[in-house]
Amino acid sequence: MEVVYDIPLIGWLIQFVVYVIEVMPIIAPTIIGAATPIALGALCGFMNERSGVVNIGIEGMMLTAAFVAWWTASLTAQLLPGGEPWLFGMTPALLIGLVAALVAAMLVSLVHAWLSITVRADQIISGTIINIFAVGITGYLNLLVSRSAPPSAGQFTRWNPPEVLADIPVIGWLLDALLSQGPIGLGLLVAVIVMQVMLFRSRWGLRTRAVGEHPEAAETVGIDVVALRYRNVILGGVFAGLAGAYLTIEFGNSFQGEMTNGRGFIALAALIFGRWTPLGAFGAAILFTASEGIQRAVRFGPPEGALGDFLASVPPQFYSAVPYLVTIIILAGVVGRSLAPAAVGKPYTREKRERRRPEEPAEPATAATEG
């Protein structure tokens, strides 16, 4: 092996791959833990953008949900103390906090849906408003609430998969890392698979794709574009809510101002990198956080020889910047183009009958839906 590593460049590459494979079982739990909120945020973006609504407000939705989950759980814990922890360390307080976070994120999504679908305001502006508002209101309330130093309601605990799983050769460590998670982390795995199947195999998926690619055509076959967009955007809020709640009642148990720290934007990047599919976005989230995971591994146990010296000399900030740089490169079409749904960002105006040009034959299907 040492001989192979001495080949210039290719040797380094091989050694690097071997090194990553060696450390992966150790850093996998960290990577998956960090990837969960990003993948959930990306699912929120997926629900929006597949139906033709741009959402750059994922960050704000997550932040709002994170605060609401933590605060509600804390308030409930003060009112309903005790309670025997149930599966996953679930207490009434945590459960109510989770529900409150979902409701809050859905309400914010409703505002986004109203602005971008009904008002037909610019969707990027709508997202910007959500982001600014979320930073403001959560920072404002957090400072006020923190004056009385409210107790934390704790957090969900992880599931311990049976030993048998971890003992499976080759993929045992992966299964163990994927399944050693709390309810939200496990929920993500289910959601990714369900959404992926639904998108390409269900009636809802077909309709959503139609509305995202060509709403006018969708309308002519009787799909209610506005209703479907509303439903998808609001349901997307559920995922943003889960992402926020994950930060304050599963991964951690406290809230700090602006704690989402750009995760909502990385989620957007993951969505683009994953070509607007749930499975792709999940993979992208893993890939993005792997860059940070490898940085940590290099810090604690760098590979031997020149490669180790090189990796250790790369500034840690570079690893953090990798996801963003990769997204720009992908978007520029340098390595495989990633194309957005065609109608994304365009407000939909239902065609008015009077406006139809005379040479166009009247579509019976449209007449039926409008009547």
């Binding site: 750059i56 600014i132 403001g136 209101i137 978007l331």
Partner: protein
């Protein structure tokens, strides 16, 4: 509805090119009426945001005062006003806060005029600040007359370069500027963290920051901290207004923004104009960063916490992308930032209330139908809703 008004959406569809040339400036009384309408809508949005802010303050007053306090908003807004306009130093402080907002607001605004959403003002601001800090530290031994222009030029050049990247990608690969600029913002944060905590870290500092900027620091000309950089904003606004509305370049930029196809038929070069608009925006945002570092902070920390680039989006939207509108919007937001400290001290209202107010103003501008319904304003004339749909699509193909 007898005759369909030509909506903006239609302008973007396959229309004869002449339909999309920017509208002529109306004259005399008609012009005054349009101006009034353009001012009324933002003004109403501001009033409504203060009402919403008051409701939030009253609702949260048990947390602030321990009991429902109906007078809390009055106390808070009075402190906000005092802190921003109450004394000479307060006014200077408002101007100091407003300067980077106006410069960066112009950066976002010129993008809007060209039909581009430049979310990257934050990254361009940071790069400008970083370059200015680098040169500011490097020129410590030179006289200010040389050091200041060098540092400022470095800031502008860095901003320009950082604006050029999304412009080039947009023009030649079709990569949407919203996504690339967001990504570049985060790359800039990491780059700043690396440079300041690595090669540029000062010798005798406890936390990662550069040496103090001495020779290149902008001289104070008014009050406690009114540095000469205030003049940059004052100069940039008329220059940009002239450039956009009186020069051929401005006409071409506005035409590309209104209808790229029409611009191409008329013999303009949309690709070059897109690159130019974003690069010029980068230059302005870079200048804002340089001014802030050289005039206000006078060193650069590795974790330089600033939101100027994001607030600039709000400023540009409130100012309707017009340089004069951006001037007033920047002054308003600058005043809020300047007074927020006093508001926190005197009324116990956290400074983040300012963000809430800004977001609510934008909300009412975006959902202007609410404002019009409340204040019974007539629908604004052509030109006011110039920014209804900037984002036509992410997946938009390369400009030709």
């Amino acid at each position: 509805m007898t005759k369909d008004p030509v909506t903006r959406e239609e302008l973007h569809e396959e229309q004869p090119p002449q339909a999309a040339v920017p509208e002529q400036e109306p004259r005399g009384a008609a012009r005054a009426r349009v101006l009034l309408r353009q001012v009324l809508l933002p003004a109403s949005a501001i009033v409504l945001s203060l009402v919403v802010g008051a409701v939030i303050m009253i609702a949260s007053s048990p947390l602030v005062r321990g009991d429902i306090d109906l007078s809390l908003p009055l106390t808070a807004y009075w402190a906000l006003l005092n802190g921003s306009l109450g004394s000479f130093n307060a006014i200077v402080s408002t101007l100091v806060q407003a300067t980077p907002l106006i410069l960066a607001g112009l950066a976002v605004g010129i993008g809007f005029k060209a039909g581009l959403f430049n979310i990257g003002a934050q990254g361009q601001f940071l790069m400008g600040a970083l370059a200015a800090a680098t040169m500011g530290v490097a020129t410590a031994d030179l006289p200010p007359l040389i050091a200041i222009p060098v540092a400022l030029a470095a800031g502008m050049a860095a901003g320009l370069a950082y604006g050029f990247i999304p412009g080039f990608l947009k023009a030649y690969t079709g990569a949407h500027e919203v996504v690339t600029t967001i990504m570049l913002n985060y790359v800039a944060i990491q780059l700043v963290a690396y440079v300041i905590s690595g090669p540029l870290r000062g010798a005798n500092v406890t936390f990662a920051r550069t040496e103090a900027i001495t020779s290149a620091a902008l001289p104070v000309i008014a009050g406690r901290d009114g540095h000469i950089g205030l003049l940059f904003a004052a100069v940039a606004v008329p220059i940009m207004a002239w450039m956009l509305f009186r020069s051929t370049l401005g006409f071409e930029i506005r035409t590309v923004g209104a209808n790229p196809d029409a611009a191409r038929y008329a013999g303009m070069h949309p690709r070059l104009l897109i690159i130019l608009a974003l690069s010029l925006g980068g230059l302005l945002a870079g200048l804002a960063g340089a001014t802030e570092i050289l005039g206000q902070v006078r060193h650069m920390p590795a974790a330089y916490a600033t939101a100027v680039g994001f607030d600039a989006i709000a400023v540009a939207l409130l100012g309707r992308a017009h340089p004069v509108g951006i001037l007033f919007a920047g002054l308003l937001f600058g005043a809020m930032r300047a007074g927020a400290g006093l508001m926190q001290i005197q009324a116990g209202i956290p400074v983040q209330m300012v963000n809430v107010l800004q977001a609510v103003i934008l909300f009412f501008l975006a959902a202007d139908l609410i404002v019009r319904a409340i204040f019974r304003l007539r629908a604004a004339g052509v030109g006011v809703d110039e920014m209804q749909t900037i984002t036509r699509s992410y997946g938009e193909q390369t400009a030709k």
